[in-house]
Protein backbone atom coordinates (compact mmCIF):
# COMPACT_ATOMS: atom_id res chain seq x y z
CA UNK A 1 0.00 0.00 0.00
CA UNK A 2 1.09 3.57 -0.68
CA UNK A 3 1.98 5.54 2.39
CA UNK A 4 1.64 9.29 2.55
CA UNK A 5 3.28 9.49 5.97
CA UNK A 6 5.98 7.24 7.32
CA UNK A 7 7.61 8.54 10.47
CA UNK A 8 10.15 6.81 12.67
CA UNK A 9 11.19 7.91 16.10
CA UNK A 10 10.07 11.48 15.60
CA UNK A 11 11.00 13.53 18.65
CA UNK A 12 11.07 17.16 19.69
CA UNK A 13 12.39 18.68 22.85
CA UNK A 14 12.01 22.29 23.77
CA UNK A 15 14.34 23.80 26.33
CA UNK A 16 13.69 21.74 29.40
CA UNK A 17 10.80 19.68 28.05
CA UNK A 18 10.38 16.71 25.78
CA UNK A 19 7.16 17.42 23.93
CA UNK A 20 7.31 14.41 21.60
CA UNK A 21 9.38 11.35 22.46
CA UNK A 22 9.81 9.03 19.54
CA UNK A 23 6.60 8.76 17.58
CA UNK A 24 6.28 6.11 14.86
CA UNK A 25 3.39 6.44 12.52
CA UNK A 26 2.22 5.55 9.06
CA UNK A 27 -0.74 6.86 7.13
CA UNK A 28 -1.88 5.20 3.92
CA UNK A 29 -3.07 7.07 0.84
CA UNK A 30 -6.72 8.00 1.21
CA UNK A 31 -6.85 7.07 4.87
CA UNK A 32 -8.43 9.20 7.58
CA UNK A 33 -6.35 8.86 10.72
CA UNK A 34 -7.17 10.44 14.05
CA UNK A 35 -4.56 11.61 16.48
CA UNK A 36 -6.25 11.54 19.83
CA UNK A 37 -4.81 12.85 23.05
CA UNK A 38 -5.30 15.18 25.99
CA UNK A 39 -3.99 18.76 26.22
CA UNK A 40 -0.24 18.95 25.96
CA UNK A 41 0.10 15.39 24.65
CA UNK A 42 2.24 16.54 21.72
CA UNK A 43 -0.29 16.47 18.89
CA UNK A 44 0.38 19.95 17.56
CA UNK A 45 4.13 19.55 17.95
CA UNK A 46 4.02 16.34 15.91
CA UNK A 47 1.95 18.02 13.21
CA UNK A 48 4.24 21.01 13.09
CA UNK A 49 7.19 18.71 12.57
CA UNK A 50 5.42 16.80 9.81
CA UNK A 51 4.46 20.05 8.05
CA UNK A 52 8.03 21.50 8.06
CA UNK A 53 7.31 24.16 10.66
CA UNK A 54 9.47 22.61 13.37
CA UNK A 55 12.72 20.76 12.96
CA UNK A 56 12.61 17.39 14.73
CA UNK A 57 15.33 16.88 17.33
CA UNK A 58 15.43 13.20 16.37
CA UNK A 59 13.84 10.78 13.97
CA UNK A 60 13.02 10.81 10.30
CA UNK A 61 9.93 10.97 8.18
CA UNK A 62 8.76 10.74 4.62
CA UNK A 63 5.74 12.91 3.99
CA UNK A 64 3.90 12.76 0.67
CA UNK A 65 6.88 10.96 -0.81
CA UNK A 66 9.47 13.56 0.18
CA UNK A 67 11.99 13.42 2.98
CA UNK A 68 11.03 15.84 5.69
CA UNK A 69 14.51 17.17 6.40
CA UNK A 70 16.16 16.82 3.00
CA UNK A 71 13.28 18.15 0.89
CA UNK A 72 10.94 20.33 2.95
CA UNK A 73 9.96 22.32 -0.15
CA UNK A 74 8.76 19.12 -1.81
CA UNK A 75 6.70 18.28 1.26
CA UNK A 76 5.13 21.73 1.27
CA UNK A 77 4.07 21.49 -2.35
CA UNK A 78 2.17 18.27 -1.70
CA UNK A 79 0.44 18.77 1.63
CA UNK A 80 -2.19 21.01 3.15
CA UNK A 81 -2.14 22.18 6.76
CA UNK A 82 -4.88 23.68 8.87
CA UNK A 83 -3.43 24.94 12.14
CA UNK A 84 -5.11 24.66 15.50
CA UNK A 85 -5.83 28.29 16.33
CA UNK A 86 -7.09 29.54 12.95
CA UNK A 87 -5.17 30.73 9.92
CA UNK A 88 -6.79 33.94 8.71
CA UNK A 89 -6.46 37.69 9.06
CA UNK A 90 -9.76 39.16 10.31
CA UNK A 91 -9.28 42.35 8.31
CA UNK A 92 -8.88 40.48 5.03
CA UNK A 93 -11.81 39.17 3.00
CA UNK A 94 -12.72 35.57 2.22
CA UNK A 95 -12.14 35.93 -1.51
CA UNK A 96 -8.77 37.67 -1.24
CA UNK A 97 -7.40 35.17 1.21
CA UNK A 98 -8.52 32.26 -0.99
CA UNK A 99 -7.19 33.82 -4.18
CA UNK A 100 -3.78 34.56 -2.67
CA UNK A 101 -3.56 31.03 -1.32
CA UNK A 102 -4.51 29.59 -4.72
CA UNK A 103 -1.88 31.76 -6.40
CA UNK A 104 0.84 30.73 -3.97
CA UNK A 105 0.06 27.12 -4.91
CA UNK A 106 -0.03 28.02 -8.62
CA UNK A 107 -3.62 26.81 -9.00
CA UNK A 108 -4.48 27.48 -12.67
CA UNK A 109 -7.57 29.69 -12.29
CA UNK A 110 -7.37 31.18 -8.79
CA UNK A 111 -10.62 33.17 -8.91
CA UNK A 112 -12.57 30.26 -10.29
CA UNK A 113 -11.12 27.98 -7.62
CA UNK A 114 -11.90 30.49 -4.87
CA UNK A 115 -15.53 30.80 -6.01
CA UNK A 116 -15.79 27.05 -6.25
CA UNK A 117 -14.51 26.58 -2.70
CA UNK A 118 -16.78 29.31 -1.37
CA UNK A 119 -19.80 27.57 -2.87
CA UNK A 120 -18.69 24.20 -1.62
CA UNK A 121 -18.03 25.39 1.92
CA UNK A 122 -21.06 27.66 2.10
CA UNK A 123 -19.10 30.91 2.34
CA UNK A 124 -19.75 34.36 0.94
CA UNK A 125 -17.17 37.07 0.26
CA UNK A 126 -17.10 39.05 3.49
CA UNK A 127 -14.52 40.46 5.86
CA UNK A 128 -13.21 37.45 7.74
CA UNK A 129 -13.66 39.24 11.04
CA UNK A 130 -17.42 39.08 10.53
CA UNK A 131 -17.60 35.30 10.06
CA UNK A 132 -18.95 32.97 12.73
CA UNK A 133 -16.64 30.43 14.34
CA UNK A 134 -17.99 27.66 12.14
CA UNK A 135 -17.66 29.69 8.94
CA UNK A 136 -14.15 30.70 9.86
CA UNK A 137 -13.16 27.09 10.45
CA UNK A 138 -14.63 26.07 7.12
CA UNK A 139 -12.60 28.84 5.48
CA UNK A 140 -9.46 27.51 7.21
CA UNK A 141 -10.14 24.09 5.74
CA UNK A 142 -10.91 25.52 2.30
CA UNK A 143 -7.56 27.35 2.41
CA UNK A 144 -5.78 24.15 3.41
CA UNK A 145 -7.10 22.20 0.42
CA UNK A 146 -7.06 24.90 -2.24
CA UNK A 147 -4.53 22.87 -4.26
CA UNK A 148 -6.24 19.48 -3.70
CA UNK A 149 -3.30 17.95 -1.81
CA UNK A 150 -2.83 14.22 -1.46
CA UNK A 151 -2.55 14.69 2.28
CA UNK A 152 -4.02 17.26 4.61
CA UNK A 153 -3.29 17.86 8.28
CA UNK A 154 -6.14 19.21 10.37
CA UNK A 155 -5.24 20.32 13.89
CA UNK A 156 -8.41 20.18 15.97
CA UNK A 157 -10.72 21.08 13.10
CA UNK A 158 -13.87 21.14 15.22
CA UNK A 159 -12.80 22.45 18.63
CA UNK A 160 -15.21 25.12 19.80
CA UNK A 161 -17.86 24.34 17.19
CA UNK A 162 -21.48 23.47 17.94
CA UNK A 163 -22.76 19.98 17.01
CA UNK A 164 -24.18 21.13 13.66
CA UNK A 165 -21.00 22.87 12.57
CA UNK A 166 -19.01 19.89 13.71
CA UNK A 167 -21.13 17.50 11.65
CA UNK A 168 -20.72 19.90 8.75
CA UNK A 169 -16.91 19.75 9.04
CA UNK A 170 -17.05 15.96 9.23
CA UNK A 171 -19.07 15.92 6.05
CA UNK A 172 -16.40 18.02 4.31
CA UNK A 173 -13.61 15.79 5.54
CA UNK A 174 -15.33 12.64 4.29
CA UNK A 175 -16.14 14.28 0.99
CA UNK A 176 -12.52 15.29 0.55
CA UNK A 177 -11.44 11.70 0.86
CA UNK A 178 -14.27 10.25 -1.19
CA UNK A 179 -13.92 12.68 -4.09
CA UNK A 180 -10.18 13.23 -4.26
CA UNK A 181 -8.72 10.33 -2.32
CA UNK A 182 -7.10 12.84 0.03
CA UNK A 183 -5.56 11.30 3.12
CA UNK A 184 -6.45 13.17 6.30
CA UNK A 185 -4.44 13.27 9.48
CA UNK A 186 -6.44 15.05 12.13
CA UNK A 187 -6.06 15.70 15.83
CA UNK A 188 -8.94 15.81 18.21
CA UNK A 189 -9.90 15.61 21.86
CA UNK A 190 -13.29 14.25 20.95
CA UNK A 191 -13.51 10.51 21.14
CA UNK A 192 -16.81 10.51 19.38
CA UNK A 193 -15.24 12.47 16.54
CA UNK A 194 -12.42 10.00 16.10
CA UNK A 195 -14.95 7.19 16.31
CA UNK A 196 -17.28 8.70 13.72
CA UNK A 197 -14.72 9.94 11.24
CA UNK A 198 -11.53 7.94 11.35
CA UNK A 199 -10.48 4.69 9.73
CA UNK A 200 -7.76 4.41 12.30
CA UNK A 201 -6.84 6.09 15.55
CA UNK A 202 -3.53 6.78 17.23
CA UNK A 203 -3.69 7.63 20.88
CA UNK A 204 -0.94 9.90 22.13
CA UNK A 205 -0.15 10.84 25.67
CA UNK A 206 2.87 12.71 26.99
CA UNK A 207 4.67 12.56 23.69
CA UNK A 208 4.22 8.83 23.12
CA UNK A 209 1.80 6.82 21.05
CA UNK A 210 0.14 4.53 23.56
CA UNK A 211 -2.51 2.86 21.45
CA UNK A 212 -3.36 2.31 17.82
CA UNK A 213 -6.08 0.60 15.80
CA UNK A 214 -9.49 1.00 14.21
CA UNK A 215 -12.05 2.46 16.60
CA UNK A 216 -13.67 -0.97 16.90
CA UNK A 217 -10.33 -2.70 17.41
CA UNK A 218 -9.33 -0.40 20.19
CA UNK A 219 -12.58 -0.79 22.00
CA UNK A 220 -12.55 -4.54 21.71
CA UNK A 221 -8.89 -5.08 22.37
CA UNK A 222 -8.65 -2.88 25.37
CA UNK A 223 -11.90 -3.22 27.22
CA UNK A 224 -14.02 -5.97 25.69
CA UNK A 225 -17.77 -5.48 25.62
CA UNK A 226 -19.94 -4.93 28.62
CA UNK A 227 -23.04 -7.05 29.25
CA UNK A 228 -25.31 -5.96 32.06
CA UNK A 229 -27.71 -8.57 33.50
CA UNK A 230 -30.33 -7.55 36.00
CA UNK A 231 -32.07 -10.21 38.05
CA UNK A 232 -34.66 -10.41 40.80
CA UNK A 233 -33.55 -12.23 43.91
CA UNK A 234 -30.21 -13.78 44.77
CA UNK A 235 -27.44 -12.89 42.29
CA UNK A 236 -25.07 -15.62 43.55
CA UNK A 237 -26.54 -18.35 41.47
CA UNK A 238 -26.47 -16.24 38.33
CA UNK A 239 -22.94 -15.30 39.07
CA UNK A 240 -21.80 -18.88 39.44
CA UNK A 241 -23.50 -19.81 36.20
CA UNK A 242 -22.04 -16.99 34.16
CA UNK A 243 -18.52 -16.93 35.58
CA UNK A 244 -18.05 -20.47 34.30
CA UNK A 245 -18.37 -19.43 30.67
CA UNK A 246 -15.18 -19.18 28.63
CA UNK A 247 -16.04 -15.92 26.97
CA UNK A 248 -16.65 -14.10 30.23
CA UNK A 249 -13.55 -12.36 31.46
CA UNK A 250 -14.84 -10.71 34.54
CA UNK A 251 -18.03 -10.43 36.60
CA UNK A 252 -18.85 -7.61 38.95
CA UNK A 253 -21.96 -7.74 41.13
CA UNK A 254 -23.73 -4.73 42.55
CA UNK A 255 -27.03 -5.61 44.19
CA UNK A 256 -29.15 -7.38 41.62
CA UNK A 257 -27.00 -6.18 38.74
CA UNK A 258 -24.21 -8.21 37.19
CA UNK A 259 -21.70 -6.44 34.98
CA UNK A 260 -19.83 -8.82 32.71
CA UNK A 261 -16.78 -8.00 30.67
CA UNK A 262 -16.84 -10.28 27.64
CA UNK A 263 -15.18 -10.85 24.31
CA UNK A 264 -17.41 -10.35 21.28
CA UNK A 265 -20.56 -9.44 23.17
CA UNK A 266 -22.70 -9.57 20.06
CA UNK A 267 -21.89 -13.22 19.47
CA UNK A 268 -22.11 -14.36 23.03
CA UNK A 269 -25.43 -12.82 24.02
CA UNK A 270 -27.53 -15.86 23.08
CA UNK A 271 -25.10 -18.19 24.82
CA UNK A 272 -25.50 -16.14 27.98
CA UNK A 273 -29.25 -16.33 27.79
CA UNK A 274 -29.17 -20.09 27.32
CA UNK A 275 -26.77 -20.53 30.25
CA UNK A 276 -29.01 -18.47 32.49
CA UNK A 277 -32.03 -20.45 31.35
CA UNK A 278 -30.25 -23.75 32.02
CA UNK A 279 -29.22 -22.49 35.45
CA UNK A 280 -32.83 -21.66 36.23
CA UNK A 281 -32.21 -17.91 36.46
CA UNK A 282 -34.84 -15.60 35.05
CA UNK A 283 -33.19 -12.28 34.18
CA UNK A 284 -35.24 -9.09 34.25
CA UNK A 285 -33.11 -7.62 31.47
CA UNK A 286 -29.93 -8.30 29.54
CA UNK A 287 -28.16 -5.39 27.88
CA UNK A 288 -25.09 -5.26 25.67
CA UNK A 289 -23.01 -2.09 25.53
CA UNK A 290 -19.90 -1.37 23.53
CA UNK A 291 -17.40 0.58 25.58
CA UNK A 292 -17.00 4.12 24.38
CA UNK A 293 -13.61 5.40 23.37
CA UNK A 294 -13.72 7.31 26.63
CA UNK A 295 -13.44 4.01 28.46
CA UNK A 296 -10.53 3.02 26.23
CA UNK A 297 -8.80 6.29 26.64
CA UNK A 298 -9.16 6.38 30.38
CA UNK A 299 -7.94 2.81 30.64
CA UNK A 300 -4.88 3.58 28.53
CA UNK A 301 -3.91 6.86 30.10
CA UNK A 302 -4.46 5.71 33.66
CA UNK A 303 -2.29 2.65 33.09
CA UNK A 304 0.31 5.10 31.85
CA UNK A 305 -0.01 6.96 35.13
CA UNK A 306 0.54 3.81 37.16
CA UNK A 307 3.49 2.87 35.01
CA UNK A 308 5.04 6.27 35.41
CA UNK A 309 4.43 6.36 39.15
Amino acid sequence: MDHVIEARGLAKSFTGAEAVRGVDLTVAAGEIVGFLGPNGAGKTTTLRMLTTLLRPTAGAATVAGCDLVADPAGVRRRIGYVAQGGTTNPSCTVMRELVLQARLYRVPDPHERARDLMARFGLTDRPIGSLSGGQKRRLDIALGIVHVPALVFLDEPTTGLDPQSRAEVWRHVRRLRDEHGTAVFLTTHYLEEADALCDRILIIDRGRVIGEGTPDDLKRRLSGDIVTVEIDGDPRRARATLAGLDAVREVQVTGGTLRLTVEHGDRILLQLARALDAGGVEPRSVRLARPTLDDVFLALTSSEVTRAA
Binding site: T51, T52, L53, L54, R55, P72, A73, R76, R77, I79, G80, Y81, A83, G85, G86, T87, T88, N89, P90, S91, C92, R96, L100, Q101, R103, L104, Y105, R106, L143, G144
Partner: protein, 245 residues
Protein backbone atom coordinates in the same frame (compact mmCIF):
# COMPACT_ATOMS: atom_id res chain seq x y z
CA UNK B 1 10.48 33.76 -6.12
CA UNK B 2 9.98 37.20 -7.75
CA UNK B 3 6.43 36.10 -8.54
CA UNK B 4 5.70 35.11 -4.93
CA UNK B 5 7.30 38.31 -3.66
CA UNK B 6 5.01 40.23 -5.99
CA UNK B 7 1.95 38.26 -4.83
CA UNK B 8 2.66 38.89 -1.17
CA UNK B 9 3.49 42.53 -1.88
CA UNK B 10 0.20 43.16 -3.65
CA UNK B 11 -1.79 41.36 -1.00
CA UNK B 12 -0.11 43.20 1.86
CA UNK B 13 -0.35 46.56 0.12
CA UNK B 14 -4.09 46.12 -0.35
CA UNK B 15 -4.46 45.23 3.29
CA UNK B 16 -2.42 48.30 4.32
CA UNK B 17 -4.46 50.58 2.10
CA UNK B 18 -7.63 49.05 3.48
CA UNK B 19 -6.40 50.04 6.91
CA UNK B 20 -5.90 53.65 5.79
CA UNK B 21 -6.60 54.74 9.33
CA UNK B 22 -3.31 53.19 10.39
CA UNK B 23 -1.46 54.79 7.49
CA UNK B 24 -2.73 58.24 8.38
CA UNK B 25 -1.91 57.76 12.03
CA UNK B 26 1.56 56.58 11.08
CA UNK B 27 2.26 59.85 9.34
CA UNK B 28 0.36 62.07 11.75
CA UNK B 29 3.09 62.45 14.34
CA UNK B 30 5.80 63.51 11.86
CA UNK B 31 3.37 65.89 10.16
CA UNK B 32 2.43 67.45 13.49
CA UNK B 33 6.09 67.75 14.29
CA UNK B 34 6.55 69.55 11.00
CA UNK B 35 3.57 71.84 11.49
CA UNK B 36 3.93 72.66 15.17
CA UNK B 37 7.70 72.70 15.60
CA UNK B 38 8.97 73.61 12.13
CA UNK B 39 7.65 77.19 12.11
CA UNK B 40 9.29 77.78 15.47
CA UNK B 41 12.60 76.57 14.14
CA UNK B 42 12.16 78.71 11.07
CA UNK B 43 11.54 81.76 13.26
CA UNK B 44 14.80 81.16 15.13
CA UNK B 45 17.01 80.05 12.26
CA UNK B 46 15.43 81.57 9.19
CA UNK B 47 13.58 79.92 6.28
CA UNK B 48 16.63 77.83 5.36
CA UNK B 49 15.88 75.70 8.42
CA UNK B 50 13.23 73.76 6.45
CA UNK B 51 16.05 72.27 4.37
CA UNK B 52 17.52 70.85 7.54
CA UNK B 53 14.30 70.01 9.31
CA UNK B 54 12.30 68.17 6.61
CA UNK B 55 14.96 65.45 6.12
CA UNK B 56 14.92 65.01 9.88
CA UNK B 57 11.17 64.57 9.91
CA UNK B 58 11.49 62.06 7.07
CA UNK B 59 13.94 60.10 9.20
CA UNK B 60 11.49 60.19 12.08
CA UNK B 61 8.78 58.96 9.75
CA UNK B 62 10.96 56.12 8.46
CA UNK B 63 11.74 54.98 11.99
CA UNK B 64 8.10 55.10 13.05
CA UNK B 65 6.62 53.63 9.87
CA UNK B 66 9.08 51.02 8.56
CA UNK B 67 10.75 50.60 11.95
CA UNK B 68 7.48 49.39 13.47
CA UNK B 69 6.60 47.14 10.52
CA UNK B 70 7.18 44.13 12.76
CA UNK B 71 3.98 44.98 14.56
CA UNK B 72 2.05 43.61 11.60
CA UNK B 73 3.88 40.31 11.65
CA UNK B 74 3.13 39.86 15.34
CA UNK B 75 -0.53 39.75 14.34
CA UNK B 76 0.12 37.58 11.29
CA UNK B 77 1.89 35.15 13.58
CA UNK B 78 -0.83 35.22 16.18
CA UNK B 79 -3.64 34.78 13.65
CA UNK B 80 -1.85 31.82 12.09
CA UNK B 81 -1.49 33.62 8.74
CA UNK B 82 2.28 33.37 8.79
CA UNK B 83 2.37 29.65 9.52
CA UNK B 84 -0.15 29.03 6.77
CA UNK B 85 2.03 30.92 4.32
CA UNK B 86 5.16 29.18 5.58
CA UNK B 87 3.65 25.81 4.64
CA UNK B 88 2.89 26.90 1.05
CA UNK B 89 5.52 26.32 -1.65
CA UNK B 90 6.26 30.07 -1.69
CA UNK B 91 9.92 30.58 -0.68
CA UNK B 92 10.03 32.00 2.82
CA UNK B 93 12.31 34.76 1.57
CA UNK B 94 9.47 35.90 -0.67
CA UNK B 95 7.17 36.10 2.36
CA UNK B 96 9.65 38.55 3.88
CA UNK B 97 10.54 40.54 0.76
CA UNK B 98 6.91 40.98 -0.30
CA UNK B 99 6.14 42.48 3.07
CA UNK B 100 9.25 44.67 3.07
CA UNK B 101 8.33 45.98 -0.37
CA UNK B 102 4.93 46.98 0.95
CA UNK B 103 6.57 48.94 3.74
CA UNK B 104 8.83 50.67 1.20
CA UNK B 105 5.90 51.79 -0.93
CA UNK B 106 3.89 52.90 2.08
CA UNK B 107 6.84 54.88 3.44
CA UNK B 108 7.42 56.56 0.07
CA UNK B 109 3.76 57.61 -0.03
CA UNK B 110 3.92 58.96 3.50
CA UNK B 111 7.17 60.76 2.72
CA UNK B 112 5.58 62.52 -0.23
CA UNK B 113 2.84 63.69 2.09
CA UNK B 114 5.43 65.10 4.51
CA UNK B 115 7.21 66.84 1.65
CA UNK B 116 3.91 68.31 0.45
CA UNK B 117 3.07 69.64 3.90
CA UNK B 118 6.60 71.02 4.17
CA UNK B 119 6.13 72.71 0.81
CA UNK B 120 3.03 74.46 2.12
CA UNK B 121 5.13 75.88 4.95
CA UNK B 122 7.89 77.11 2.65
CA UNK B 123 10.17 74.11 2.19
CA UNK B 124 11.72 74.17 -1.29
CA UNK B 125 13.62 71.37 -2.96
CA UNK B 126 14.87 70.82 -6.53
CA UNK B 127 13.07 67.96 -8.29
CA UNK B 128 16.31 66.02 -8.82
CA UNK B 129 17.14 66.40 -5.14
CA UNK B 130 13.70 65.20 -4.15
CA UNK B 131 13.99 62.13 -6.38
CA UNK B 132 17.45 61.28 -5.07
CA UNK B 133 16.19 61.75 -1.52
CA UNK B 134 13.25 59.42 -2.10
CA UNK B 135 15.61 56.88 -3.67
CA UNK B 136 17.72 57.10 -0.53
CA UNK B 137 14.65 56.37 1.57
CA UNK B 138 14.21 53.02 -0.20
CA UNK B 139 17.24 51.22 1.33
CA UNK B 140 16.43 52.91 4.62
CA UNK B 141 12.91 51.48 4.57
CA UNK B 142 14.17 48.07 3.49
CA UNK B 143 16.62 47.83 6.37
CA UNK B 144 14.26 49.12 9.02
CA UNK B 145 11.39 46.87 7.94
CA UNK B 146 13.54 43.75 7.57
CA UNK B 147 15.13 44.25 11.00
CA UNK B 148 11.79 45.02 12.54
CA UNK B 149 10.33 41.75 11.18
CA UNK B 150 13.33 39.78 12.34
CA UNK B 151 13.09 41.33 15.79
CA UNK B 152 9.35 40.69 16.06
CA UNK B 153 9.75 37.03 15.09
CA UNK B 154 12.70 36.41 17.38
CA UNK B 155 11.03 38.00 20.37
CA UNK B 156 9.71 35.37 22.70
CA UNK B 157 7.19 37.64 24.37
CA UNK B 158 5.61 39.38 21.45
CA UNK B 159 3.57 41.80 23.51
CA UNK B 160 6.94 43.37 24.29
CA UNK B 161 7.47 44.32 20.64
CA UNK B 162 6.01 47.82 20.82
CA UNK B 163 7.68 48.94 24.07
CA UNK B 164 11.03 47.42 23.13
CA UNK B 165 10.96 48.91 19.65
CA UNK B 166 10.25 52.39 20.95
CA UNK B 167 13.12 51.95 23.36
CA UNK B 168 15.40 51.46 20.37
CA UNK B 169 13.74 53.92 18.00
CA UNK B 170 13.82 57.01 20.19
CA UNK B 171 17.60 56.93 20.85
CA UNK B 172 18.19 56.15 17.17
CA UNK B 173 16.13 59.19 16.23
CA UNK B 174 18.11 61.40 18.59
CA UNK B 175 21.48 59.96 17.57
CA UNK B 176 20.75 60.31 13.86
CA UNK B 177 20.75 64.07 14.26
CA UNK B 178 17.32 64.17 12.67
CA UNK B 179 15.90 66.70 15.10
CA UNK B 180 18.95 68.91 15.53
CA UNK B 181 22.10 68.55 13.42
CA UNK B 182 24.95 66.77 15.18
CA UNK B 183 27.51 69.32 13.97
CA UNK B 184 27.46 71.15 17.32
CA UNK B 185 27.36 67.99 19.46
CA UNK B 186 30.07 67.22 22.03
CA UNK B 187 32.69 64.84 20.65
CA UNK B 188 31.49 61.71 22.47
CA UNK B 189 27.93 62.20 21.22
CA UNK B 190 29.23 62.78 17.73
CA UNK B 191 31.17 59.50 17.85
CA UNK B 192 28.13 57.64 19.15
CA UNK B 193 26.05 59.18 16.43
CA UNK B 194 28.50 58.13 13.73
CA UNK B 195 28.17 54.56 14.94
CA UNK B 196 24.56 54.47 13.73
CA UNK B 197 23.72 54.16 10.02
CA UNK B 198 20.93 56.69 10.40
CA UNK B 199 23.33 59.58 10.86
CA UNK B 200 24.67 59.03 7.32
CA UNK B 201 21.18 58.62 5.89
CA UNK B 202 19.97 61.89 7.38
CA UNK B 203 23.02 63.79 6.22
CA UNK B 204 22.72 62.20 2.79
CA UNK B 205 19.10 63.31 2.60
CA UNK B 206 20.04 66.85 3.57
CA UNK B 207 22.79 66.94 0.94
CA UNK B 208 20.36 65.67 -1.72
CA UNK B 209 17.71 68.22 -0.84
CA UNK B 210 20.32 70.97 -0.83
CA UNK B 211 21.36 70.01 -4.35
CA UNK B 212 24.85 68.75 -3.38
CA UNK B 213 24.62 65.75 -5.69
CA UNK B 214 28.34 65.14 -6.04
CA UNK B 215 29.14 65.55 -2.35
CA UNK B 216 30.88 62.92 -0.26
CA UNK B 217 28.04 63.28 2.26
CA UNK B 218 25.47 62.08 -0.23
CA UNK B 219 27.69 59.26 -1.46
CA UNK B 220 28.33 58.24 2.14
CA UNK B 221 24.61 58.24 2.88
CA UNK B 222 23.87 56.04 -0.11
CA UNK B 223 26.72 53.60 0.55
CA UNK B 224 25.95 53.20 4.23
CA UNK B 225 22.21 52.85 3.64
CA UNK B 226 22.60 50.26 0.91
CA UNK B 227 25.11 48.27 2.94
CA UNK B 228 22.85 48.43 5.98
CA UNK B 229 19.90 47.24 3.89
CA UNK B 230 21.92 44.27 2.63
CA UNK B 231 22.85 43.24 6.16
CA UNK B 232 19.29 43.72 7.39
CA UNK B 233 17.81 41.63 4.58
CA UNK B 234 20.33 38.88 5.31
CA UNK B 235 19.31 38.90 8.98
CA UNK B 236 15.62 39.01 8.11
CA UNK B 237 15.93 36.18 5.62
CA UNK B 238 17.72 34.00 8.14
CA UNK B 239 14.87 34.52 10.58
CA UNK B 240 12.21 33.78 7.99
CA UNK B 241 13.72 30.61 6.61
CA UNK B 242 14.51 29.14 10.00
CA UNK B 243 12.58 26.00 10.78
CA UNK B 244 11.58 26.96 14.24
CA UNK B 245 9.80 30.25 14.50
Amino acid sequence: MPRDTWLIFRHQLRLSLGGWFGLVFGVLQPVLNLALFGPLLSAYLGPGSWQVFVPGVLMQLALLSAGLAGFGIVFDARFGVLDRQRVTPAPRTALLLGRVLTNVVVLLGQSLLVVAVGFAFGFRVPIAGLLIGLALIVPLAVSLAALSYAFALTLRRQEMFAPMSSTVIVPMLLLSGALLPMSTAPAWLDVLSRATPFRYAVEGLRAAFAGHYASATLTGGVVVSVAFAAVAVAVGTRTFIRWNA
